[in-house]
Amino acid sequence: MLSRLTYCSAKTEVEIKEILGGNGVSENLNNLGLQIGRKVQIVKTDHTQGKLTLSLTGNEISLGNELASKILVETNEIIETSLNMTKVGDVVEVTKILAIGDIRFRLLDMGLVRGVKLNILRFAPLGDPLEVLINGFNLSMRMSEAKNIKVKILEFGKIEKNRKWKFGW
């Protein structure tokens, strides 16, 4: 299935299908040898440092997650992401709710059930909380609450993060 590079696990092989972002990003990645059609191996992932290591044609390169998240790859793995890992512009479908207690009641009552579609609208200026469009209204929640919602990405947001002066959507 199609997935962001950053969602894949270590020791898997993936094929680069698309690069999200403007020309600058494409050029950057192309110069590193990461082009559409290339197959790469993910050597290891480092979530604390926010980077991953790839191997292609014998060389190893290290990529920060910000850049790596713009690479869409085809993988045999079944990818299950959580809501807090999505990007602005993504359209996702909820697959599982792992939250328990009051938060669970709240989420279910607001319509966050399995199968519901969400549009990721934005992240707050400080990065947390996030805002989604669900069933025609806008819902916000903390990243820690979003972590407990597993989703399947239906469409990848093509919006570049550092768009200047576009009314951020």
């Binding site: 279910l108 009552d109 319509g111 934005r122 400080l126």
Partner: protein, 714 residues
Amino acid sequence: MPGSNEILVALAGNPNSGKTSLFNKLVGANQKVGNWSGVTVEKYEGSTNHRGFNIKVIDLPGTYSLTTYSPEEIVARKFLVEIQPDVVINVVDSSNLERNLFLTTQLIDIQANLIVALNMYDEVEDHKTKIDVDQLEKLIGAHMIPTSTVNGLGISSILAHIVDLFTGAISVRKNKLVFSDKIETIIENLVSVLETEKEITSQYFSRWLAIKLLVNDKDVYNIVRKYPVWIKVNSILSKAIQQSKTEFDSDPEMMIKEERHSFIRGAIKETVKYAPRVKKSTTEIIDGILINRITGLPIFAFFMWAIFQITFTLGEYPMLWLESYFSWLGNIAVQFIPEGVVQSIVVDGIIAGVGGVLGFLPNIMILFISLAFLEGTGYMARAAFVVDKIMHKVGLHGKSFIPMITGFGCSVPAFMATRTLKNESDRITTLMIIPFMSCGAKFPVYVLIAGTFFDRSDAGNVLFGIYLLGVAIALLSAKLLKTAFFKGESEPFVMELPPYRMPSVKILFFQMWFKAQMYLRKAGTIILFASILIWFVSNYPKSIQITEEYSNKISTVELAEDFSSDSKEELIGNLRTEEASKQLEVSAVGVIGKLIEPLVQPLGFDWRLGISLVSGIAAKEIVVSTMGTLYSLGDSDENSTALREKLLAIGSYNIPVALSFMVFVLLYIPCFAASIVFHREAGKIKWTFLYIFYTMTVAWIMSFATYNIASLFL
């Protein structure tokens, strides 16, 4: 109840569904606000007449569902299930049917006599959305009436339907939401077990209980658990949970809620035709500016600054007007009442007291109308959204920010503003730390002390440092209190960001007026009583010796022949001030001040500073004037050079003392009025005790530290 001509109607619906506007349209000015017993949730009730029937309307708090985990949901559910009003009007935001109808299906479950008001219908028409109301009625199973408080659509129809439903002219549509076979089987099993217990079925609908048991409703569990049938019920529930895990990798609660949502979605698909969305909605455009990554925080800071300015600068004018009105009253009293105890009690006790109470009113009213405006437009949710990350780091909620900022002006409205925090632990924590946001009344004290002991450039920095210290202590305290008393009880942030709307000015005024009334009724009376009490302890006991001594001295001056009347006046004035100072020393306040001297000595204070601090418990503004009196200087304020010189002249007062004094004033218990409002908002006496203990302890420790550390370096 049927038979009489009194109809009890409850309004239930999501927040932001226009329920309050509909309530106002139905009852107009015939309304009053109180409190639901035991919780800090406001209760709005009103009445109206239609066709000879007296209709009493209760506006229930806005809820997304009837699950009981927030005070609002508990209040609403309790009222609907236990009181069982004659008619329930479910106010629905017609542009948001999917989420709103979730509550509707639950209301149908409890077999309420339901009328659904498809509210904000004008927006539906604006968006060119088409709703087949007849078909929707049939599918969902309830009467539906399009309404709009903007153009008056449907209001009279609602009233007519209320009466008709009550008299039986029309009947409730008996449609119930039918779940999938698997769920229905489990429900049937539970219902047959529950029906064997007559006591339960006489009070509650068994189908509703069954559904609630399956969705893990705590309250219903507690009800059924008391009966012997619980054993059978529990085994059915456990089996159901097992089954759904193995067969569907889910649980009954999830399945029921999913089925509810898909039922609603199906009904909407059949009956609602949305016009294609051509351009961005106004809300999207505004949000693009107000909460985008770059401008979000600065804009938020601007709005906070604006509220603050409006409240305290605009509030200046009515405050000054009130002040002058009361001093005019005081002068009249002095003229008409002969000098003595009565005059003193009327002027210094009652008039000063009432003046003090009413003095808060302009600030409260302006603050609340600003907050109501921000809340009504929908910006409040955005504000919490923007600032939540910082607040959450110390265990607070995004919504804590505004009450805290308000605290910089005055604690009284700040305490009242914590009502927006639904979760008790968030609310109590915020209440406890507001006092550390240095209030406006403390400012003159800082100006006096910093201005006296530091030169101009340093004084400004010292002042800033004090305010910063307050904020730091507030944030640290939040963390401390949360871990000590409220481990892991944060309110989920899951929150709707409603579309921007223009709130009705009439409603804003009503809400502000009710808050003002509440303040006057509850806090006002006690503050007045407290003011008289404080007057009493500041003036008594009086020493007859001193009175006689000064009376003689004054007569001597009056009778002396070799003084001009001007210099006589001056001398007498000085004598009177000296007398006041000595009397203050022997009054109850003074005695207390001297008694606590050993306690404040380690902080560098002497008995005069001690008394000034004690007087500050009554009201912080009094600290400076008390100091003026104690140093025998008559009418002094913070800019008085005489007072400054006097302070500098006292050998034991130096910079460490100055710093330590300001720190103490910053942190110790707020004024009496604020404490009373705190108690009312916190609700339980144990919080008030904690608040007193905590502020005093923190003040003492920080003051002690400041004095001793400063003494080492300066």
